[in-house]
Symmetry: C2
C-alpha cells in the first residue's frame, strides 16, 4: 500500500511575526533547527510508504517552494492556487488529481506548518489511518492532549471502527473551547484535531458531491482549464474563484458519517505561537534559550532569537524577544496569541514590516536592501548559478553594479559583456539590460541605484525566463 | 561679576548602552529632545553671567566636541587630556587656566551629562554660589531630593554661612547610601551632591596645594608643556600621567574647611540610567513613551527608543526597549543600574557592540558600515563641505566610489578629478588617493571595498589636515 501525500502550504501565517510575514509565512521559516516546517514535512515523506508528494500552495510562494525543495534535494508536484480559498477547494483539487491515477488511491492531506518529534510513531499512525481509509473511512489523526489547550479544536471519539481495533469513530468535531471546557474535554478523553486527513479519492469525491458540490465543480473546472507554467500547474483563476471559501472541516468533516480517528502520541505541535517555539527549544538551567546573538542577565524563561544584531535582556522574566533585520518583538510568553492582533494593527497602519522582509526572494536568487537615501538605494543582489533576471529597463533610475563575487554576464542594449569580481558596470537611465550568472558559484553584486524615483514598480520587463513579463 | 565655566566631559558613561558607548558616551547622545546633554549644558551658559566656556575632555572626543559645538553654533576653548585621570586633575588644569587671566576669577566646574528643567532657577543658584565663592568659599549646588535615591552622594548641611543667608556650610559629604540610610538622609534634610563646584581660582589653587600637591604640580607641568593642535590645547602626556587618578571630591572637597552649599530645586537629573530617561520622557495615559518607530500593545510603563527599526512590545509591563542599528536592550525598569554590568560582560567577551557604534565620526564627517561579506565591505561615507580626508593608500583592498549626492574631488596618484552625482571612480589596490568635498553641500558616496583583508588598520596616511599622520 502507498499513500499519496498532499501538502497544503498556502497559509499566510503571521503568528510568529516578525520572522513570518505574508511574503514568507510560517511554514517556510526555520523555526526550529535549520529547516523550515515545510522542509521537515517533505523529509518525513521520504519513507517508502509515500508517493512523490503534491504540494498545493498560493502562487505567490511558487519560487519559495521550488527553492526550499531544491535546498533539501527533494522533488514534488506543485499545484498553484491563483487566489486564497481555504482548505476545502484545495482538498477537492488534490482528490481529483488522485482520481486521475486511480479512484482507490489513498490520499493523505497534511499541513506544512506543524512539527512532530516522533517520526516513527507518525508513520505507524499513517499506516493505521491508511488501512482504515482503504476500508472507506475518512480518517484524521487525533493527538493525545498534553494540556487543556484552548487553541485547538477537539475530537469527541466513539467506539472502535472494528471490534477491538484502535481506530475510533468520530462522534463530533468540537470548536476551540474556553479554558474550563478544554479541561472537561481532556478529562473526557477528547483528542486534538491536528488537521491531517486520510481518505480514498473516490470516497472523498462522493462526500464532496454530497455536501459541497459547488466546491467539487469549481475544483474540477479549475483543473480542466489549468495550465503548465514552467514546473508548476497553475489552476484556472476564474474557475477556482467560483469555489466557496471554506475549510474541509466545515465543508465535509462535520457532515460525513465516515469520519474516523487514529489516536496518536507523536510529539505533535502546530508551533503556532512564539510560546510554542519556546516550549520546543533547548533551554538552560534558568529556562533561557538563545538562538543567534543574545545575552540574558538576571532573568528566567527568556527566549531570544536574533539573526545579525546583538539582543540583550536584563531582569525581564518570561519574555520572548525576536530581532530581525528591520523589526523587534518583545512579547510576554503568556500573550503569544496576541501577535496576530499586533500584525493586524501594523497592517492597518500600512507598515511595510507587517508584509515584507528586507530580503526579497526571486526565482533567480534574492536581493536585499542595505542602505537607502532620498535619491539613492543600495542593494545586495545574489544570482544563482545559471540563473538570469528579466530583460528590463527603468524610466527613473540609473544603476551601478559592482561585482563582489563570481562573474556577471551583463546585457547592455546591444552588447553582452562579462563583469568579473572587483569590476563594475554602469547602466544609465533607459538602458535595456539583463543580468545573468553564467558561472558555477553564486554571483554577488552591490547595486547602487540613483534617481528621483526608486520604487520597485519602475521596471519594464521585455523578456523573462520565469514568465513574469 | 562673571563666571568662567569649565565643562568636564571626558567620561565614558555606558550606563545608557546601547545608545552610549565608549566611542560616543552619554554626554554626546540626544537622550531627551534633539540635543545632547553636552549641547544643552553649553546652551545654558549663553547667559551673560558666563564667559566663553572651557571644555575639558579626553582627546578621543575632540572631533565629536567640535562637531557638537558647530551644530549649535557655539564656541568654547577645548582642552584635551591625553589619558583619563578623573576629575581632580581636570579641575586643577581649569584652575590654572583661570589663574592665567586673574587669580580672583570665579570658576564654575560643571558636568556635561546632567539635565535640569529650570534654567532660570539654575542661573539664580549660580549667582548665589558665585557670590559665596567670591567670599572665599568652595560652593556646590545641593539638590533637594525628589526621592530617597541610592545612586547619589549626599551633603549634610550646617548653619548658614552668613546669618539669615541661604548659602549653608557643608558639614559632611556622605557616600551613596543604602535604601534605609537614604530615607534617613532625606528626612534629615540632606541634599544630593550634583557635582558642580564654584570657587575663586586662587582659593582652589591654595586648597590643591594643601591637600593634593601632586595633582597641582602635574597639572601645571602638563599645561606648561601643552601644545596647540588645530583648535585644541593638548596637555602634555608624560606630565599629565603623573597626576594621581582621583576625583575632586576625594582630593579636596572632603578635606577643605571652605565647603559651602546652595540648596537648589531646579529639576536636576543626572539621567544616569534608562529608568531616569523614562522618568523625564513624555508618557501617555498608560505610562508608555515611544521615541522613533514603536508600538505598544497591552502593556503599561513601557519606554521604547528605536531609531530606524520597528520595535514592538506586547504584554510586558515596566520595560525599557532600546533598539539601535546593531543592538537591542530589553531592560526591566527596576534593573536600570545593571546595564553597566551588562556592558562589562559584553566587553569581557570582546563584543564590538560594547565599544563602538556602526557609525564612526571623523573630523571630516562620518562613515557607516551598511553591508559586509567575506571579501567585500560596503560603507556610506559623508564628507562635510570643505572637508578632506587624508592622502592615503591601502595594501589589501581596492575601492569603488559611487557619488550619490554632491561633488567629490578625488586625488588619484598624480591626477585630481571631479566626480559628480551618479558618477563613479575606481581606486585599485595601492593607489595613492584622497577624497575631498569642494562643494557647498554634504558629499555622500557609497564605497564598495573588495579584497582579502578589509580591516580599518589597512591604511597608510601620507598627509592629513587633521594631523593624524
Amino acid at each position: 500500500m502507498k499513500i499519496l501525500p498532499i501538502i497544503m502550504c498556502g497559509g499566510s501565517g503571521t503568528r510568529v511575526w516578525p520572522e513570518s510575514r505574508e511574503s514568507r509565512p510560517k511554514q517556510f521559516i526555520p523555526l526550529l533547527g535549520s529547516r523550515s516546517t515545510f522542509q521537515t514535512a517533505i523529509e518525513t515523506l521520504t519513507d517508502p510508504l509515500f508517493e512523490t508528494p503534491i504540494v498545493i500552495s498560493n502562487q505567490d510562494y511558487r519560487f519559495l517552494i521550488a527553492e526550499q525543495l531544491q535546498e533539501i534535494g527533494r522533488s514534488a508536484h506543485i499545484v498553484l492556487e491563483p487566489l486564497r480559498r481555504d482548505s476545502g477547494p484545495a482538498v477537492a483539487v488534490g482528490t481529483e488529481l488522485a482520481m486521475e491515477t486511480d479512484p482507490k488511491t489513498i490520499v493523505a492531506v497534511l499541513a506544512a506548518d506543524h512539527t512532530l518529534r516522533d517520526r516513527g510513531g507518525f508513520i505507524a499512525s499513517c499506516r493505521e489511518a491508511a488501512a482504515a481509509a482503504a476500508g472507506g473511512h475518512i480518517v484524521t489523526l487525533g493527538i493525545k492532549p498534553k494540556e487543556p489547550a484552548t487553541g485547538y479544536g477537539y475530537i469527541k471519539t466513539g467506539k472502535a471502527v472494528v471490534d477491538n481495533g484502535t481506530v475510533l469513530k468520530v462522534e463530533a468535531f468540537v470548536e476551540k473551547p474556553d479554558a474550563p471546557t478544554a479541561a472537561a474535554y481532556v478529562a473526557a478523553g477528547h483528542l486534538w484535531n491536528a488537521g491531517n486527513f486520510f481518505f480514498r479519492a473516490d470516497i472523498m469525491e462522493e462526500e464532496l458531491r454530497r455536501f459541497a458540490p459547488a466546491i467539487l465543480e469549481a475544483a474540477c473546472d479549475a483543473l480542466a482549464k489549468a495550465r503548465r507554467d514552467l514546473d508548476f500547474l497553475l489552476l484556472d483563476k476564474e474557475a477556482f474563484a467560483r469555489a466557496p471559501k471554506i475549510s474541509i472541516d466545515y465543508a465535509v468533516m462535520e457532515h460525513t458519517q465516515r469520519a474516523a480517528v487514529v489516536p496518536a502520541d507523536i510529539g505533535w505541535s502546530d508551533v503556532g505561537t512564539w510560546a510554542a517555539v519556546c516550549e520546543l527549544s533547548q533551554r538552560d538551567a534558568n529556562g533561557n534559550s538563545v538562538r543567534g546573538h543574545g545575552v540574558v542577565m538576571d532573568a528566567r524563561n527568556v527566549h531570544i532569537r536574533s539573526d545579525e544584531n546583538l539582543t540583550t535582556v536584563v531582569g525581564v522574566d518570561n519574555v520572548v524577544v525576536v530581532t530581525t533585520e528591520d523589526a523587534v518583538l518583545v512579547l510576554d510568553r503568556a500573550h503569544g496569541d496576541k501577535v496576530k492582533q499586533l500584525v493586524d494593527r501594523l497592517k492597518s497602519e500600512n507598515r511595510r514590516e507587517a508584509f515584507e522582509h528586507k530580503r526579497s526572494h526571486r526565482p533567480w536568487g534574492y536581493y536585499q536592501s542595505v542602505d537607502r537615501g532620498s535619491r539613492y538605494h543600495v542593494k545586495r543582489i545574489v544570482v544563482k548559478p545559471g540563473a538570469r533576471l528579466s530583460l528590463q529597463k527603468h524610466l527613473h533610475r540609473a544603476e551601478h553594479w559592482i561585482v563582489v563575487r563570481g562573474t556577471a554576464e551583463v546585457t547592455r542594449n546591444d552588447d553582452v559583456v562579462l563583469v568579473h569580481e572587483n569590476e563594475s558596470i554602469y547602466l544609465p537611465i533607459g538602458t535595456i539590460h539583463r543580468l545573468a550568472n553564467p558561472g558555477k558559484i553564486d554571483l554577488e553584486l552591490i547595486e547602487v541605484q540613483t534617481g528621483s524615483y526608486l520604487g520597485e514598480d519602475d521596471i519594464v520587463r521585455l523578456e523573462d525566463v520565469y514568465n513574469r513579463v
